[in-house]
Amino acid sequence: MGAPDGELTDERLIQSTLAGDDEAFAELVRRHKHRVFSIAARFTRSDAELDDLSQEIFIKAYRQLAKFRGEAPFEHWLARVAVRTCYDHLRKSRHDRDAVALDDVELPSTDNIEPRRAREVLDFALAKLSPEERLVITLLELQERTVREIAALTGWSEANVKVRAFRARQSLKKILETHHER
């Protein structure tokens, strides 16, 4: 992220953080927290869970900060840490899959579905996918990332990302159809 005049650059703040300056790290967090929250919010169900996951992401970033080489912008590096932490979070909370409930109201037509209702429906269906499928489809369809970006963020090959996205779509259609039939 380019810093405006008089503002310290991310690289400068990282150096200060590594030298033990907590305030420098707080400033880094202030600058990038919205991006991290936007990623993590798609994988959590409450403010408390979001807060906890975001803290985990920044603590992981803090511990790995010495490995940041500055070859890519800090925000890209941080997004990678965030996505991988979210993936770990999904794997750890697999048993919560069935905890997400959708009330028995019939699914409205997708032609004029309200944005909030669409999100509820998708949250319900996404919770039933495997962590890999959920991560890929969320990044691809809800965060509108490209296959190449997802491959870079997750460390998976582009072919793998495409296969997982295809499977995720098939599973989602099946889950939503089943619910619709009830």
Binding site: H34, A41, L50, D51, S54, R117, A118, R119, L122, H180
Partner: protein
């Protein structure tokens, strides 16, 4: 459900991004507090060697005391007093 319907669902959901404002409020303060707690809980390995030093010292002292006070085996003393050759002659002659 077909692909077109699923795409419409995604498009609608994209229009309602999650509201993160509440969770973002005061986040830095909470994070730094947790970071300090994590750092306090993590002790480097060499600190543990110093912390365990009294235990190691106690083990060494206990072994030393046991070495001086443990009862000796009388049979072991006889065996150590008798040379191998004398033992062999005694066995052959039946003495």
């Amino acid at each position: 459900m077909n692909d077109d319907q699923l795409n419409k669902l995604f498009a609608a959901a994209r229009q309602a991004p999650p509201d993160t404002g509440r969770a973002e409020f005061g986040f830095e303060t909470r994070l730094l507090a947790r970071l300090r707690a994590v750092r306090q809980g993590e002790l480097p390995w060499f600190v543990w060697t110093w912390r365990l030093a009294p235990v190691f010292a106690a083990v060494v002292i206990a072994l030393g005391v046991w070495n001086f006070t443990a009862p000796t085996d009388p049979l072991a003393e006889i065996i150590s007093d008798t040379s191998d050759e004398a033992a062999l002659v005694a066995m052959l002659t039946g003495e």
